[in-house]
Symmetry: C2
Subunit: 185 residues, 2 copies
C-alpha cells in the first residue's frame, strides 16, 4: 500500500514537472527555430498551433492582400501582463492573395493563395551580434511562396528596417492592429 502511494506521489510530481516545463518551453522557445549562427527556420504548422495577433487588409489596385500575424502560444498573455514581448517569442506574418465575392454578409474578401511569410524572434540578449539579421532586439527572416522553407532576407537594415521604422516606439511591432494584446476577450 505504501509503495502504491509512493508510486502515485512520484507520478504526480513527474506529471507536474513535465507539465510546467512543457508550458514554459512550449511558449517562448523560439530559439528552437534558430541555429547556432542565427539562421531562422519558419515554424511548421503555425496555423494550427500559434495564436492570432491580428489581421491587416491591404487594399491595392494591383492585388489586394490579407496579412495575418500569428504569435507563439502565450505571447499575447505575456504581453498583457508585462507590457513587452517575452524573450523567445516568435511572430509569423503570413501574406496572402485574396478572393472576393458578393456574399450574404456583403462585399467579402478572404485569403487565398500564399505570397510570403515574415518571421521575427524576440531576442533580449543580443545573441548574434555579428549576424546582420539580428538587430533591435529581434531576429528577422523572410520566406517566399516559391521556396517556403528557404530564408531569403540578407540584413535587417536593407530588408526589414524601412517598413518597420514607424513602429520603432512599440518595439518594432505594429501593436495597434493586434486587439488580443489589450484583451483576451
Amino acid at each position: 500500500m505504501t509503495s502504491r502511494i509512493s508510486f502515485v506521489i512520484l507520478a504526480l510530481v513527474v506529471v507536474g514537472y513535465l507539465s510546467v516545463n512543457s508550458q514554459t518551453t512550449g511558449t517562448f522557445n523560439g530559439f528552437q527555430y534558430v541555429d547556432k549562427t542565427g539562421n531562422i527556420r519558419k515554424p511548421a504548422d503555425f496555423r494550427d498551433h500559434y495564436e492570432l495577433l491580428g489581421t491587416w487588409w491591404v487594399a491595392d489596385p494591383t492585388g489586394n492582400q490579407m496579412h495575418m500575424t500569428y504569435a507563439s502560444p502565450g505571447a499575447a498573455e505575456y504581453y498583457r501582463k508585462n507590457g513587452k514581448f517575452a524573450d523567445g517569442t516568435v511572430m509569423v506574418k503570413e501574406i496572402m492573395k485574396t478572393d472576393h465575392a458578393q456574399m450574404t454578409t456583403g462585399d467579402a474578401h478572404w485569403a487565398s493563395g500564399d505570397i510570403q511569410w515574415f518571421v521575427m524572434v524576440k531576442d533580449d540578449k543580443n545573441r548574434f551580434p555579428n549576424n546582420p539579421l539580428w538587430d533591435k532586439g529581434w531576429g528577422w527572416a523572410l520566406f517566399k511562396a516559391d521556396a517556403p522553407d528557404k530564408q531569403v532576407a540578407t540584413a535587417f537594415k536593407t530588408d526589414c528596417m524601412s517598413c518597420h521604422i514607424p513602429a520603432q516606439s512599440t518595439d518594432w511591432v505594429y501593436v495597434q492592429g493586434y486587439p488580443v494584446l489589450k484583451s483576451a476577450k
Copy 2:
C-alpha cells in the same frame, strides 16, 4: 534499482494517459459551454486559446468590418484528416469595426472595436431537438458588444439560416475562407 525503474515506468504511463486525455477533452469539449437545455455561453479568452480559421474583410460604405473566425484547438487538424468538423468543435466569429491608414505596407485596414460574436457548437447527436437554436448539426448563438456575455439569438430559422444557407453543402460553414482547413502550412 528495480523499484526506481518501476517508479519511472508508472510515471510515464500516467503522464501518457493524462496527456492523451487532456488533448482529447481539451480539443472538442464544446459542450462545456452548453447547459442542459442547450443555452450556449461564449468561450472566455478564445483569442488566447483558439486557432484562427480565417479572416473576412467586408467592404461596406456605411462601415467596413473585419470578421475573424476562430475554432477550438485541433479543429482544423481534425477537419483535414476526416473531412468534417468533430462533434464538440466550437467556432467563434468575431465581428469588429476597423481603422485604416496609409502605412509602409500600403492602404492598410485593421480591426478596432467590437461589434458582435457568432458562436457555433458542432452537434452530431441532435442533443437538443426541442431547442430552436440547435439545428442542422450545430448549436447557434449570438452575443453583442453592449452585453458581450448575453446570448440574444432566438432561433436558427429566423436569426441564422438566411445568412448561412449558401454554405449548406459544406456543413453550413464558409470553408473557402479558411486556408488552415487545407494546410497547416
